[in-house]
Symmetry: C2
Subunit: 191 residues, 2 copies
DNA sequence: AACTGACTGTATTTCATTTTCGGTCAATTA
DNA sequence: TAATTGACCGAAAATGAAATACAGTCAGTT
C-alpha cells in the first residue's frame, strides 16, 4: 500500500506548528518534514491557513476527548464542571501547540494565532454550554442563558486559576473549587 | 507670587501622557508645554517614571472621587456595587489617559503603560475590597476573603461589560446588573 | 495522474546610518 | 547663592535600502 501523504503532511504540520508556532512554520519546512514535495501539500490544503485550521480542529477534538473522559453522569453538575475545567486548562497549558500559540499571541500578536486560540475558547465554551443545558433540564441549575453562563464560568475559572497568580500566590485546585462553588453556585447573600 | 513650576510641570505632563501615551511623551515636550527648562523637571521628579507615577496617582484619586460620589450608605451593597463598577468602567473608557494607555499596551506593550494600568486595577480592587469588608461586617454578605472576592467581582463585571461584546451583542447595563446578581449573589443552585 | 521543486513577486529581515531622547551639569539668571 | 536653564552626552530607537525568506504556482518528471 502506498504511503498516506495527507497523513504525513498533517503530522508534520502538527509538529511544526507546535514547535515553532504559526508564523515560523514554513510550507517548505512542512514539506521536508513530511518527505513530500511542497506542491503535494497544495493538493490537500489550498493554503497555509487551511492546513492550520485542520491542526486546530484536531487539537479541539483532542480537548473534547480529554473532557469527555473526565465526565461522569453520576456525579453532580458542579463536580463534573470543576473536574472538566481543571483538566482542560491543565491540558491546554501542557499542550505544546496551545502554549506556543499563546506565546506567539503575547510576543507578536500574530492574527492567525489569535484566531486559532479564539476558536479553541469558543469550542470550550460550547462544550460547557451543552453541559449547562443538561443541568438546567435536570433542574440542577436555575434557568439561565446557557451561553452567557458558560462564558462566565470559563472566565471565572480562568480568573481564579490563571490571572490571580499574576500578582498573588497561586490558589490550590481545591481552593479554586471551593471558591467557584461559593461564588457561582451558592451565592454571597446570607441564607 | 512666583509661578508654581511644579504645578505647571504636572499639568503639562498630564496633558502630554493623555494625548500621546507614555512612550511618545518626551521630557523636552513636557518642558516646552510647561514653559520650563528641562532641568527644572528634574528638581521635582528624579526621572520620567516618577513623573508618570505622579500623574497615575492623580488619575487614581480622580477615580476614587467618582466612585465615592456614587456611593450611598442607605442603598444595599449590591446596588452600590453595581453603580460603582458601572461608573468606574464608564469613567475609565472615557478618560483620555486611561484609554491612551490601554491602546499603548495593546499596540506596543510598553512596560510602563502595563504597570500603570495594573496599578489602576489594583486601586479599583482595593476600593471594592473595602466596601466588601463593610458588607461582611454588616452581615449583608457571607464571610469570604474580601480581596479575592473583589478581584472576582471586577473580573466578572469586566467579562460581562467588556469581553462579552468582543464576539457578541453588547449587554445592556440593566442586563449586566441582573446577571451579576444572579451569578454572584443568588447563585445558580435551585432554591 | 500524481507528484515535485525551481521559480516568482511580495513581504520580511538585516544592518549601517541617522535621529531621538532621557538625563546631566556648567553657565546664567534673578 | 539658590533656582533655573538648555547645550551636550551616550544609549536607544527610527530609518531605509539591500538582502533574504516565504507562500503559492506550474512546467516538468516519475
Amino acid at each position: 500500500m502506498a504511503v498516506d501523504r495527507r497523513k504525513l503532511i498533517v503530522e508534520a504540520a502538527a509538529q511544526s506548528f507546535a514547535l515553532f508556532g504559526y508564523k515560523a512554520t514554513t510550507m517548505d519546512q512542512v514539506a521536508k518534514l513530511a518527505n513530500v514535495g511542497k506542491g503535494t501539500i497544495y493538493t490537500f490544503f489550498s493554503n497555509k491557513e487551511e492546513l492550520f485550521d485542520e491542526i486546530m480542529n484536531l487539537l479541539i477534538r483532542e480537548i473534547k476527548q480529554v473532557a469527555d473522559a473526565e465526565y461522569d453522569a453520576d456525579r453532580t453538575f458542579f463536580d463534573n464542571l470543576n473536574r472538566i475545567l481543571h483538566r482542560i486548562l491543565d491540558f491546554r497549558e501542557k499542550h505544546q501547540l496551545a502554549v506556543k500559540l499563546a506565546h506567539e499571541v503575547r510576543d507578536m500578536g500574530t492574527p492567525k494565532a489569535i484566531e486559532g486560540l479564539n476558536k479553541l475558547e469558543e469550542a470550550i465554551i460550547g462544550y460547557i454550554q451543552a453541559k449547562i443545558q443538561i443541568a438546567i433540564d435536570k433542574r440542577e441549575l436555575k434557568p439561565c442563558d446557557p451561553k452567557i453562563t458558560a462564558f462566565v464560568m470559563l472566565k471565572l475559572y480562568l480568573a481564579l486559576a490563571s490571572e490571580w497568580q499574576h500578582s498573588h500566590e497561586a490558589l490550590a485546585k481545591e481552593k479554586i473549587a471551593e471558591l467557584f462553588k461559593l461564588y457561582l453556585l451558592d451565592g454571597l447573600t446570607m441564607a
